[in-house]
Amino acid sequence: MRALQRKLLRDLAQTWGQALSIALVVASGVAVLLASLSTQDALRRAQEGFYREARFAQVFAELKQAPQALRARLETVPGAAQVETRLSARILLDLPGFPEPISGQLLSLGPAGQPRLNRLHLVAGHFPEPGRAEEVVVNEAFAEAHGLRPGDGLAALINGRRETLRIAGTALSPEFIYAIRPQDPIPDNRRFGVVWMSAPAAAAALDLAGSFNSVAMTLAPGAPERPALEALDRILAPYGGLGAYGRDQQRSHRFVSDELAQQRVMALSIPTIFLGVAAFLLHMVVARMVAAQREIIATLKALGYADGPVARHYLAYVTLVVLAGVGLGALFGHWLGLRMSLLYLRYFRFPSLDYHLDPALVALAALLYLGSAALAVSGRLRAVAALEPAEAMRPPAPARMGPGRFDRGPWMKLLAPAGRLALRGLLRRPWQAALTTLGIGFAMAVVILGLFWWDGVDWLLRSQFHLAERGDAVVTLDRPVAAGDLPEFARMPGVLAAEGQRLAAVRLSSGPRERLVPLIGLPKDGRLRRLLDADGAPVRLPAAGLVLSQAVAERLAVRPGDPVWVEPLEQARPPQLARVGAVVADWVGGGAYGDLGEVNRLLGEGPVINAAALQLETPEPRALQDALRRLPRVAGITFRAAVVRGFRRTTAEHIWVFVSFLVGFASVIAVGVVYNSVRIAFAERAWELASLRVLGFTRREVGTLLFGELAAEVLLALPAGLVLGYGLGALAMRVIRTEAFVIPFILAPATAATAALVVLASALASALLIQRRIRRLDLVAVLKTRE
């Protein structure tokens, strides 16, 4: 090994603490980058593989009822490749031991069991045997949530009749990778199940023999979607077509795609912060090293080393630190990605998930970090190259030090001597201090990025389920009933009050833009369901006209006062003109709201309702559950308490993993920045500090001088971190919000305080590490070296 290489290794060994802390920052960034990208890649491949294997449809349509003979016409839809007609219905499931009725989705299978499109992946058991009408396949997530196995019984309320079913198999479906009940923000596998039944059994149960009410279709490669959708709508219109839609509006597909997009944001945003911090730390350490080794550099040049090799020697230090970080990051990222993928598998039901770390990605991460590190130290390397070798022959010049204008200000007199020294130290190198402050601030921002989701979810739950939906339960009916039937609900056991609602699927359009949205009619002076704006203030329903969610209004490009066409999808009825009365920036929903009477008018019907919000004596009264279970028209019941519980549990599982890692990463940044700054400040001033010790200063006093600067930087970093965290959080929320679901950006004081505590604790830990060095400060040796 060459002497210069030996020097490099010894330089590394002597600065191992700093090198390690920087390598860990690099490792954190690389880990998040690799984990996010690999997870995203694994999910994408799993999604594509499952879609291909299962022949996932590209176009979907629901309708009231059409004869099987219509199928031939569906095959003439432009671009149609394969057409599947089937039966679909919302049902209620009933499991002994589970108090509530469970929402279910019934779908018919193909003639030979397996459907032609949206094929199932059997996990256990088998398809229903011919002639055994009671046999069904259920989705695995639901079976798992209730511990159901093939052979188990299952009661269902289908078409107003109670049926006893037997589970023949459990399966995964490309339509229910993310199995979520309509209107729910997140899946609840205990309260939503999918049941596949043989075609004849389904036809018999739904009284729809010889008919279909659901269409799935694949398109020929390259065939555009829009003509197919339009043709489908035309063909199905006379049969109560509810509007054809593409994959982009298929619930499961949309959720999975949104999540993939979020992974991409994560892969791009967080590692960028680490990239910046690592670059900054490397700059700081290399700058210090080059300054301290000025004479060594000059000597090497005097000895005949050219500028290039000398500069490369310092670049090699950076390269080794970064590569060590990339190596560690690759290992950790692989593990993290695997963990994240497994976590996703609990929500996204894929038959297989092939997770692996692509070596090309590791190489890309290495290039990215090496490049930015090289860029960060390039200024110092140029200084190395520019250093005159004659410097080696000269004695070192004393450090330039003179009082600045600020230094002489009257405020100096207000400070204790230690404070004065600390302030002077900061002013002597304002850029360094600013960057250190910024680095620590970023650490705090990363903690905030990890924690603030809670605040958003909290706010969401509060605004949605306490302020907007103040009822304790919502009962939905499978068909509209007269508004006069409402008192029937109010008389049910445990019910204090009931308010009728009208929910309908409509197509809103304005010019060329259109959107399939839920239209919700609410009573004029209703108390149980209110509309709120983003600040939680109630919005009054206009007597005429609709209130649109901001997301919907944006996509339709309409503003209050603009006309929109409302096309009811359940009834064959021409589009009606309505006016946009107001736009609300609500968080959940993405729908249109109107006065109940106005909605009835737009739908061309008398005063009817098909849902009721209930106010209850107790959150989930057993008697009401039993009563509803016996009511034939009920399509589902949602208890607020159960939804909130489920929401909290799911987000808790989901968010905690990310939170804990982000907090860990933030600590790495904070320790990295603080430790390096103090370590460098210590090295620069060891001589001065030792001199003070010789003059009789105690260790504590010397420590105060050293840590005074750090304390000032950390204290300045807290507000900076708050601002950075706020900005990054708001940005992240903007990027990842979806049409159906927006987590508001809320930063609670407790979150800011927690983030500040993490940073303070990291700073304290770094200070303690350096404190040990002060104790070991060799007074005689330090005074001898001329640094």
């Binding site: 002497a3 020097k7 000597t299 005097a302 000895l303 005949g304 005159e388």
Partner: protein
């Protein structure tokens, strides 16, 4: 000595004409060296005397290719040092010059042997690092780090490092400046031994008058100009020097 060396004795190793060097000092310029004409021949042991500020370090830096003159010409054999760019001067230092610094300038985290290897790594036909340490009498201390060596030992390591590449000329900047007299003598012995055994041309700059006695030629600088240039027909061995 190599055949043909006697011919080279006639042609000067270094030749300077009208050499000057100015440093900017705020608005004004300060001339550290002005109008220096000088010819150094191969095989000489030159002692350059002068108080601090006399321009001797500047002259040494220019001869060693560390610095460029502001005016005048300076050549080493057929190398034009005044016109040479950075890369050419680096090559010149690497191939021809050995430096000994006043403060030794050893790399603190390399051992004595490794400090010497630093030079042999990039030289064309160097001696083995241990051989060089042997020449300065430090074979036994080869694995010690600079902090574990005395000042005199450190300077001898620096000499070993300078001679290991078999340089044509050894330029020494106050090599005994930081040493006491007995230790300084040891260092000067090492330099003399290298001069005798390897035939290396040696230039020592010092403000220490006593050292002048061991040179074959003594040049005195003052105020940036050559004040005296005389041969010393009877150089004394370092053992006889005292200061």
């Amino acid at each position: 000595m190599a055949p043909g060396a006697s011919a080279a004795v006639q042609a000067p190793l270094f030749e300077a004409r009208g050499l000057g060097k100015a440093y900017p000092m705020g608005e004004a310029e300060v001339w550290a060296l002005r109008g220096v004409d000088l010819a150094l021949r191969e095989g000489e042991f030159v002692v350059l005397l002068g108080p601090s500020g006399s321009g001797k370090s500047t002259l040494l830096n220019i001869l060693g290719g560390l610095d460029r003159p502001s005016e005048g010409r300076v050549r080493y054999k057929d190398h034009d040092l005044a016109a040479a760019d950075d890369a050419a001067r680096t090559r010149y230092r690497r191939e021809h010059v050995g430096f000994v610094f006043q403060f030794y300038n050893l790399i603190p985290n390399l051992t004595a042997l490794e400090n010497v290897a630093l030079v042999t790594d990039i030289a064309e036909r160097p001696m083995r690092p241990s051989e060089a340490l042997d020449l300065v009498g430090l074979a036994a201390r080869r694995d010690h780090f600079p902090a574990q060596l005395s000042g005199g030992e450190q300077q001898r390591v620096a000499i070993a490092r300078a001679i290991a590449k078999r340089p044509d000329v050894l330029l020494c900047d106050e090599p005994t400046g930081a040493l006491d007299c007995p230790t300084g003598r040891l260092v000067l012995e090492a330099l003399l031994r290298v001069h005798r055994e390897l035939g290396t041309t040696v230039v020592i700059i010092t403000h220490n008058e006593a050292i002048a006695a061991m040179g074959t030629r003594v040049i005195r600088l003052g105020g940036g100009r050559i004040a005296e240039d005389r041969p010393n027909p009877d150089p004394r061995p370092p053992a006889e020097l005292a200061w």
